[in-house]
Symmetry: C2
């Protein structure tokens, strides 16, 4: 650790100032997510006994940034230099004391934002960090963000897990927990869920959930916000900003940890969350129009549907399936979710029967194991045209059927002609993979089981109800 | 189709007869699952317009049998021959009329069992098939089994999906639906779930679910029976045989399709099931000690736990986790399933605190992100020794942690010292894969989310209650 720090001159631009010359905090938080120049401050020597600082972690972040970041990136190894180049954003991965020294150094040099990866900051240190941030008008994410931020559009990836890089999309994630955040990022990367911005909140000395939500409210790359939270410090502000976000036709999903007395106690010690009763959260979420989910899988399954498909205007679902048994499980799941099986009009039934006499037009519609592109296309179109149908679940298995993955290519083309949600279920494991490979970049989300697709349609129906409430109160 | 069929002489052995010389049907059903010689009867020319018969399907079954079957296998192409070698089992994949002709031919030649893959048999044809089976004392599975039977121990695989071959294990599956069966087989193969016997029931002219259950009751390779059913024709017999199976310390899981009025209507047209009210099924399952599940994933997740772990004798679960947030989600899931978080004894707490002062011993126990083999080993052992703990959920994430997949190797060794269930959750997607690669052949089942592991523990607790009821009524 160098004892004397050489300060280079600040080159703050007018970008950081409002028109009246005053400081604009919103402008600054943008540099957390959209910097054009980044420095990574770490040590090639220090290994913390308790804590995450290590040369390996430092190198891993450098690896991700060098490989993915599309703009200017520089490494500052504090063992080799005591000066710092200026940049929009500094990523700091050092023990508390060293972090604070270098935070002040980069702030003086004109940095606009800091992501503090490492933790272990006591109350005094945290207060000091906040004071520095206020003094230098610098926004700080963290400390203890563990993984920081991922923005696939710019290739910004401050995580220390090599190549944990999701694809570009319009689902943004906020996690109050490093572990849950890491699991969410793993899930999104592995299952190719397109991400807008990914944020690990950490200890929140400066930037809090509300600030990030304010940023995401105006982020054109964000359509759905998926949040893992354990508690809230400013419930009222949270509800207000959530309402503003939903007014912009975006949607918010929350997975809340600590719903039981015991787990809430643990959440308190984990993220200092004031947990509050679960009913209070439910009421707040309901008022805001936030959709609550049960687990990580449901969070992403729901987010995918909201990101890709329109809201479902009624609760009547048609199932178009090339297999019998899974269609029955689909019908069960639809009813279990509180939705209903659509009653097709006589006209729809007649049109389908005329063309395919062998198809039993009772919903769920079993279009038989030898159905390929033409039959799916014709029947999906008839069903979507039916005024009694609000949404469609397609089941297109490969195994035991004639359907080939490439046959699925026609489905998004039919679906886009109508403003009704369509979800696709290639029931199984390999079948799911093979059909998902075809549909991954289209607006049709895929699910491996009918139960998950039914839940996704339910969320699209709930979202429609939320939007209706907003339109009434406008 | 040859018009004159040459009949070779039967060589039925005394194996087929009871000691008193009478025919033993149980002996014969064994040849469905454990034949030492198999013939596949199909056509290299016939393509059915409606129905599955085709040269491609015929070739695919031949491919699987040639590749995997460890005993004698011969192909009979009816376009090239009008004689048939004798064998234990014939697989027939032809249209109804041709199937019946060849069924009689192979029966006369001394075949002991037939798997009729293809369907399309009307009532008259089905009756004819049954009459033949009775006349020649041959057991018939099908028609319309679609995929037939898989027995990994012998390499028997009568499916027409190339290389859809699960590994050997002690979970046996019975499916009343070809589509659901195909999805289950895909799931088991892809997620490496070890299979005892896999049966697609089809139209059941002869062999029915009860017959298969009777066979599995005495099958040493079957510990857990996972059933997909849409209805039951002999509910009382089903309950009785299920009770006998559970008395042998095996367990039965059922996924029932057609639980709603609409889907039951569809099930009736799909498998001619007399669906009955869902409450009647619940009562029957409860009486028999059958555990009911909600979907395909829960079916296999529960089966894995029952196949690998002991019943859970109480409802108190400890969570040992290297991450905070996922442990909180685990606690939520445990309580949601009706289980409880164990209160560790003071002795356990003290022992852990003495060795690892940084670990907060409140359950869920957060053993901190840098935990590796030694810490997991020590704390898992203390927790399993604790009399207040009935089962343990381990959470060992890799991402954001120091844990490496090979660190998991020690876990089965510790777990096997105690008769308490242990399940493992490497929360996420890639993390789940990497740790599962290490644990797949050990008695510790892995789950990708705490919610699924909590459900698995719940099933182990339910199974214990079932066994207790049986012991009381013995």
């Amino acid at each position: 650790m160098p004892m004397t720090l050489k300060i280079t001159k600040s080159n703050k631009t007018s970008d950081n100032l409002r028109e009246d010359g005053s400081f604009s905090p919103k402008k600054r938080i943008k540099q957390i997510f959209e910097p054009r120049s980044v420095i990574l401050v770490g040590s090639s020597k220090i290994v913390e006994e308790v804590g995450m600082t290590s040369p390996e972690l430092f190198q891993n972040i450098a690896y991700n940034m060098k490989k993915y970041f599309r703009f200017d990136f520089k490494i500052v190894d504090i063992e080799k230099t005591n000066t710092t180049p200026n940049a929009d954003l500094a990523i700091i991965v050092l023990p508390p004391k060293e972090s604070l020294d270098w935070a002040e150094l980069v702030m003086r040099a004109g940095i606009q934002a800091i992501i503090q990866i490492t933790g272990g900051f006591d109350a005094k240190f945290r207060e000091h960090y906040l004071n520095l941030a206020m003094k230098y008008h610098v926004r700080v994410l963290g400390p203890n963000t563990i993984m920081g931020v991922v923005n696939p559009t710019l290739g910004l990836n401050t995580t220390f897990e090599p190549d944990l890089m999701p694809g570009k999309g319009n689902i943004s994630v906020i996690s109050q927990s490093g572990g849950v955040g890491a699991a969410l990022l793993d899930w999104a990367t592995t299952y190719r869920i397109g991400i807008g911005k990914f944020t690990f909140m950490g200890d929140k000395v400066d930037i809090d959930d509300i600030n990030v939500l304010e940023y995401l409210a105006n982020d054109p790359d964000t359509k759905v916000i998926a949040i893992y939270m354990e508690g809230l410090k400013a419930g009222r502000r949270f509800v207000e900003i959530a309402k503003n976000i939903i007014k912009k036709n975006k949607s918010i999903l929350v997975l809340k940890g600590g719903i039981t007395q015991e787990s809430a106690r643990r959440a308190m010690s984990h993220t200092s969350s004031i947990a509050g009763s679960d009913n209070i959260f439910n009421a707040a979420f309901k008022e805001a129009g936030i959709i609550r989910v049960r687990d990580i899988e449901e969070l992403f399954n729901s987010a995918l549907a909201l990101a890709k498909q329109p809201p479902m205007k009624g609760k009547h679902v048609a199932v178009v399936s090339n297999v019998g048994g899974p269609a029955i499980l689909a019908a069960d799941a639809i009813v279990r979710e509180g939705l209903e099986l659509a009653h097709l009009t006589e006209n729809t039934k007649r049109t389908i029967t005329n063309r395919y006499p062998g198809v039993d037009v009772m919903n769920p519609i079993d279009i038989i194991a030898d159905a390929r592109t033409l039959r799916f296309k014709f029947i999906l179109k008839q069903v979507l045209m039916d005024p009694n149908v609000d949404g469609v679940m397609i089941i297109n298995m490969l195994k035991s059927c004639f359907f080939k993955p490439e046959d699925a290519k026609v489905l998004p083309k039919i679906a886009e002609e109508f403003k009704k949600p369509v979800v696709d279920v290639p029931v199984g494991a390999e079948d799911f993979q093979l059909v998902t490979d075809i549909l991954i970049d289209t607006p049709i989300p895929t699910y491996d089981l009918p139960d998950k697709a039914a839940k996704a349609l339910k969320v699209l129906y709930e979202y429609n109800k939320i939007l209706k409430t907003y339109n009434h109160t406008k």
